[in-house]
């Protein structure tokens, strides 16, 4: 080892380059979601100050309305960071709301919750097994599952809403408050906190990112990438089923339509939050802000008096703009 005394840092000629190298890590593109959030917030705060945008009630409303998307998007972050996709989350939420409502009216609150979770476990395991064991692309598996789940939900209820009269359930899942804090905000906070810590600070999280970043290398490193793929889809399914129960609690009923289209909002939130659509990089906190930004835009556009067709156009344009700004060069 005669020539093993090389320093660990490459010499950087010129002080300027060294400074640039250090600040290069503070790349504003990585923080575009936070910048965008602040800009949109400030914009609405000024523009809509007379419409009550800044009133505490309206702000809490934004949280309430985005809670289910936030929860779903936390699970989706894992799936996308692992270079997969889950299109079945919205209809899984719908099926879960229906099963919870039906089991609850028959047997009570605990079986109701278990029925909802069982939906997530079954759908998630099926998605995971088909993707990891049979190697079918998750796009196709979950696209099929999207149809199956919503079809089952509609079928077993004969398209009828299933009212939930259990106040305890409705209070816990959605309608209740803890002091001044809406229960839904607490739910999102719990999911985001756990999701963020697990993704960035645990072995499992690292293995998800490595599998998404380069599956072959992850395999060669001794990571069971099949199991990881299974697990992320299972997580996504279970998390979506909890979101379904949050719908059920807030709207005091189970309906097959609950959650319809949420997969797209969740994917948008995840991508806005800086998770790579090609896997390998992901941020749960970014996802939270992605979901909040979407909620913010929805709320602001409603207050501004745009009708729903105009809202869709503006929302779509803002999402494309944000992703375009955040993309890597």
């Amino acid at each position: 080892m005669n020539n093993r005394t090389i320093s660990t840092t490459a010499p950087e000629p010129g002080g300027l380059a060294a400074v640039r190298g250090r600040f290069g890590e503070l790349d504003w593109r990585r923080y575009v979601i936070y910048i965008g959030f602040v800009v949109v917030f400030a914009f609405f705060a000024v523009l809509l100050r007379d419409q009550g945008f800044l009133s505490p009630n309206n702000l809490l409303n934004i949280f309430r309305q985005t809670a289910t998307i936030t929860v779903i998007a936390v699970g989706m972050t894992y799936v996308i960071a692992c270079a997969e996709i889950d299109l079945s989350v919205g209809s899984t939420a719908g099926l879960s709301s229906v099963c919870t409502a039906m089991a609850l009216s028959q047997w009570g609150i605990v079986p109701g919750i278990l029925a909802g979770l069982a939906v997530g476990l079954v759908v998630g395991s099926l998605n995971g097994a088909l993707v990891s064991l049979l190697g079918i692309p998750s796009f196709l598996v979950t696209l099929g599952m999207l149809g199956i789940a919503v079809g089952v939900a509609q079928w077993i209820t004969a398209s009828a809403p299933q009212p939930i009269l259990n106040d305890t359930f409705n209070t816990i899942f959605g309608s209740g408050n803890i002091g001044p804090v809406p229960g839904l905000l607490v739910w999102s906070a719990i999911f985001v906190a756990i999701g963020a810590v697990v993704l960035s600070r645990t072995k499992f999280g690292r293995q998800v990112l490595a599998t998404g970043g380069n599956r072959t290398a992850a395999d060669f490193t001794g990571i069971n990438t099949k199991r990881i793929k299974f697990q992320v889809l299972l997580i996504s399914g279970v998390v979506a089923s909890v979101a379904g129960m949050l719908y059920a609690g807030r709207l005091e009923s189970g309906r097959f339509q609950w959650g319809a289209g949420d997969e797209l909002s969740a994917i948008a939130a995840v991508i806005l939050g800086g998770t790579s659509l090609f896997g390998g990089a992901g941020s749960v906190v970014g996802t939270l802000f992605g979901a909040l930004l979407i909620g913010l835009i929805n709320n602001g556009l409603i207050l501004a008096g745009l009708d729903s067709s105009q809202q869709q156009v503006v929302r779509g344009a803002i999402i494309i703009l944000a992703v375009a700004l955040a993309r890597k060069k």
Partner: protein, 502 residues
């Protein structure tokens, strides 16, 4: 030779990135019908110079002359129009298309209707191959062909677009010996037809074999341009590395008697598919075992079987005398094995992840505190690995993609040695690595064996194999044909004969 005309001339080229100078007033000239080797350590500026010639980067100052006339090369299209073609190291072909479709990609011959005329493409592709005097079916799908044919298709693609200068970057890296020979024959024929070749290679023997002149870059400056008949290998190595290195590429007798040490790994009748057939050998602690063989002889496949990537059809693996069921890499790692894979970019690293994350990936259990990972411990562990293996990184948080080939390989090595394996399998550990890093890696291998680890080295570079191996197994068609003690191998020549089976 001085009278022969110039194909390409680059005059006082300078280029910097973010204020850091990468090329400084470099002159580079290639004559018509010449094979001109371009050498230099990692970071010397070879690839930047070539990217300027290809139109990927624009030069900050200096001029480029093609056929004596100044040209403005500001895009890849400009470079192609000027007759400069590139044979990519990572091939730029579309595997799902045919050879002819790839050759004429973007410049497809069209019929009068404006639709693509595939027949015409096939006919013209045949012409190109006929001129190259090689046989390739233009209608074959590229995905169905071997690596050597991919390269020939690349060359045909450049020639079909009337390239007068071909840039070849490590063209033999993935070729077997006879394929290399065929490529060199082709290079000779191209030379005779007045085509110039810029040849980038780390393999000294190849440079001497086919190049007429050599230009060496060091730290972004031109060190020398010489006819190869006027320069010795020692001078070239010295020019690249910047100091004289001796002995790294010659065998060093190491202390200790490997033959009496206890066996760590025993393979008994290993068979897997068609590439590994009834392979048996014993590996002792402190021993470096070389695996020699042509491409497709089953070297890599044997490594994959040992590491649990490919399934074992029959036979058994014993670790320290006990039968080990190695059905996947996790079990292999648990049994004390580590594999430095052949393709570091695809199999060894998550390129977009940081150096630190890559280093820690197999070591996550070591830095776990309860269910969470200890960030501080991770930083400490990765820094100690970076220091120990002298990886040159600007910052451990930077993506590993930004490192040079040699440093990427060091990251892979460090990552695996962090697991403290008993048996280390290295598949082509120095491919695409500059000569300075190469000797560091060879030293590292010797040091590991001295520390009692058992090492298996797979390499198509015989000098390297002979430099480190205590014993060499020769593989052919998946079976061991020779088991040679180092003392039985006189020189590179005799090992090559053993591999060729003569």
């Amino acid at each position: 030779m001085n009278t022969s005309e110039t194909a390409v001339e680059m005059r006082s080229i300078s280029k910097g990135f973010n204020g850091v100078s990468v090329l400084n007033d470099v002159d580079f000239e290639v004559r018509t019908g010449e094979v001109h080797a371009l050498a230099g350590g990692n970071g010397a500026g070879k690839s930047t110079l070539m990217k300027i010639l290809q139109g990927v980067y624009q030069t900050d100052s200096g001029t480029i002359l093609v056929g004596g006339k100044p040209v403005q090369i500001s895009s890849i299209q400009d470079a192609k129009a000027a007759g400069i073609g590139m044979v990519f190291q990572e091939f730029s072909l579309v595997p799902s298309l045919t050879v002819a479709q790839n050759i004429f990609l973007g410049v497809e011959p069209q019929g009068r209707s404006g639709l693509i005329n595939d027949k015409e493409a096939v006919r013209r592709a045949r012409e190109v191959f006929a001129e190259m005097e090689i046989e390739v079916d233009p209608r074959a799908h590229v995905s169905a062909l071997g690596t050597a044919y991919w390269q020939l298709t690349e060359i045909a693609k450049a020639l079909a677009q009337n390239a007068k200068v071909l840039i070849m970057d490590e063209p033999t890296a993935s070729l077997a010996r006879h394929e290399t020979d065929a490529l060199f024959d082709l290079v000779e024929r191209l030379k005779r037809r007045g085509i110039s070749i810029i040849y980038i290679s780390h393999r000294m023997d190849e440079v001497y074999r086919i190049a007429d002149r050599i230009t060496i870059l060091r730290d972004g400056r031109r060190l020398l341009t010489e006819s190869l008949s006027d320069v010795t290998p020692e001078q070239i190595v010295e020019g690249i590395v910047g100091k004289k290195i001796e002995g790294q590429l010659s065998y060093q007798q190491r202390g200790g008697d490997a033959a009496s040490a206890s066996p760590i790994l025993e393979a008994r009748g290993l068979t897997s598919g068609k590439r590994v057939r009834d392979v048996s050998f014993t590996l002792r602690s402190g021993e470096i075992l070389g695996l020699a063989g042509l491409m497709g002889s089953g070297r890599t496949e044997l490594a994959r079987v040992l590491f649990g990537i490919d399934p074992l059809d029959s036979g058994e693996i014993l670790i320290r005398g006990k039968k080990a069921l190695i059905s996947n890499p996790r079990r292999a790692i648990a049994a004390g094995l580590a594999l430095i894979p052949e393709d570091r970019r695809d199999q060894g690293l998550v390129l977009d992840h940081s150096v630190r994350d890559n280093l820690l990936l197999p070591l996550l259990d070591k830095i776990a505190r309860g269910p969470l990972l200890d960030g501080g411990a991770g930083k400490k562990l990765s820094s100690s690995l970076i220091q120990k293996f002298a990886v040159k990184v600007a910052h451990p948080n930077k993506p590993v993609r930004l490192l040079s080939g040699g440093n990427q390989q060091k990251v892979v090595l460090a990552k695996w040695l962090g697991t403290e394996p008993d048996v280390l399998i290295l598949d082509e550990p120095t491919a695409g690595v500059d000569i300075g890093t190469k000797s560091e890696i060879l030293d590292m291998i010797r040091e590991l064996a001295d520390a009692g680890k058992a090492v298996i080295v797979i390499s198509s570079e015989y000098p390297e194999l002979l430099a480190v191996s205590d014993r060499v197994l020769v593989l052919r068609d998946g079976s061991i044909t020779r088991d040679l003690e180092r003392s039985e191998i006189a020189d590179e020549e005799s090992l090559q004969l053993a591999v060729q089976g003569v």
